[in-house]
Symmetry: C2
Subunit: 339 residues, 2 copies
């Protein structure tokens, strides 16, 4: 793909129908194509282009290559009370993750909390998708995935840890507070975005191949040496998340995923907690509001400081993109049209 800076704005209806067309042409049933397109569309509408429209061609490439099986359905491996193990059977990551989130909510509706561990799935795109899915129905959500090894241990130069995104989400009035963060200070999607725009990262985000701390995304994308979120802490959290996802799902760990041809056979965990089961349900909304109100009264440390909560801007971006169309690199969009 030729990279130019020309950006076009694509109406969401148009983008959606193109996604559906291409998915159906690649073996997806109509129903699955609609569900899957919806994830890519929503991620794009909400400004997470790296795991929306920008990644759609790669998703289709993996389908064509047989890495992602559009027909596969997740299957229940084992149930023990409020905990279930599922096999994703290498089906489409977003569909598997949506099904797992839904299933965790069904369990939680029965017993307060539900945990679904999913093995052998594919990239779920944006983890926040499943946080939003759960909070819209009144659930708290905690979920994470392992990834291919793409980050060094703290004190190491080779990449043996995944950057294993972690998602925590709670309902908040008519929207939500959704934290969705990779264990590398900058996600690969974010670094690619800065690279494509020819910009430096706001803070040093990793090391070059020569071991020099740098804000240049090009250097870090070459070295696979991003700094972990919180240095030794994010590296430790990455390790624990990988162990937990692997053990709970009975699936592959990051270092096993690293041996695959592409990033596949991921292990993921989905925990839902049903707020409607709590004795204090009637005061939950007021509690959240009180915390957020206090948070928003923070004194900015500089003139340009904005005090935002995770996910706060999503609604605004969604409205803007819905109104004006979703910004896409023209070359990329032309490529999608040709799929």
């Amino acid at each position: 793909m030729e990279i130019t800076n020309e950006v076009v704005r694509i109406a969401s209806g148009k983008m959606n129908s193109e996604f559906i067309r291409i998915l159906i042409a690649n073996g997806f049933s109509s129903l699955k194509a609609i569900k899957c397109a919806d994830v890519f569309l929503n991620n794009s509408l909400e400004g997470i282009y790296s795991h929306g429209v920008n990644r759609f061609p790669r998703f289709i490439k993996y389908v064509k290559a047989g890495h992602i099986n559009p027909d596969a359905e997740p299957s229940l491996v084992f149930r023990s009370g409020s905990l279930e193990q599922w096999n994703g059977n290498n089906g489409p990551g977003p569909l598997n993750a949506m099904a797992a989130t839904e299933r965790a909510m069904v369990i939680a509706a029965e017993s307060g909390i539900g945990l679904v561990a999913l093995a052998n799935t594919n990239h779920w795109m944006r983890g926040g998708t499943y946080g939003w899915q759960a909070v819209r129905k009144g659930f708290i959500f905690i979920g994470w995935t392992n990834t291919t090894p793409n980050m060094p241990a703290w004190g190491a130069s080779d990449h043996r840890l995944g950057n294993n995104p972690l998602i925590l989400a709670v309902p908040n009035a008519d929207d939500a507070i959704v934290l969705d963060f990779a264990m590398s200070l900058y996600s690969y999607g974010k670094m690619e975005l800065y690279r494509n725009e020819g910009r430096q990262l706001p803070y040093p985000g990793g090391y070059s191949n020569e071991g020099i701390l740098t804000s240049d995304p090009v250097e870090i994308l070459k070295s696979w040496r991003p700094i972990p979120t919180g240095m030794w802490k994010g590296a430790g959290l990455s390790l624990l998340l990988d162990i937990m996802a692997t053990v709970l799902s009975g699936g592959a760990s990051s270092h096993e995923i690293g041996k695959k041809e592409i990033e596949s056979n991921l292990s993921q965990v989905f925990i839902a907690i049903d707020l409607s089961k709590l004795s204090n349900l009637s005061s939950v909304a007021a509690s959240v509001k009180s915390i957020i109100d206090d948070y928003k009264e923070s004194v900015p440390s500089g003139e340009n400081s904005e005090i935002r909560y995770p996910g706060e801007n999503i609604g605004k971006i969604r409205t803007e993109n819905f109104k004006n169309g979703i910004p896409v690199n023209k070359g990329l969009w032309d490529k999608i049209l040709s799929l």
Copy 2:
């Protein structure tokens, strides 16, 4: 207390009996004194002095002042399936947290996963204590607490967030992997340690009152402006952990805790997952070993780099302190003897 650099080594048996004597003299039953002393002793043996022996005088001060009620027992508020809400009734934090961890394991043994949310409790000292408690019995543990506001939101200069420690723990052969980390890059206990030793932090850990990034723990302890772990990410995680602990327990949030005379009425969450319930139990140990073996093969980035997993050194420190006695500042130990 006069601060000198003179360090004495106290035998663990001696330290334990002093703790028990003082606790009983301050209204603890023999059984509760033994349990509570055990937490302070173990934290000290395992090198977490800031939340062991070093904090014992403050714990007793709070008992004497009536902030911590040695007679209080946690009481069940509400049960919904695998989720329970308990009231800590302002009892001793370590005893409440041990009871909540035990209860989460009992639920998990019934239904795979158990969540206990605890309101109105006191400082639990070292969160890792409860991770070790759970993994020793074959459970995965996820837990966190909120704290008094002691960290700014990202982009803010006033401290409205807690540094809300998060603990993740998994069994590993005959020990465990236990991650226990505060949402400030350096915990207050760590910063106090560096201050007392007259040392600078290894990395800039916060801002001075003048807004200057600094590695001087004295400046950060004055300003209450530690950097969040992973900057905006740790600040976001802190916010979500506070909301979840508050909502799930029906207890106080960080900003409400900030209005109390001392840090009290904390809200905490304890999640246990019973590995013996998994279909893949027989391969769990091998999975963890395989991940750790790969991790330990990391290539060090420098001559002095050590690639360790969270909690790896605990056993060594414990053995050393058990053999040689626990190192304590002499002035502090004299003070304890006089309690």
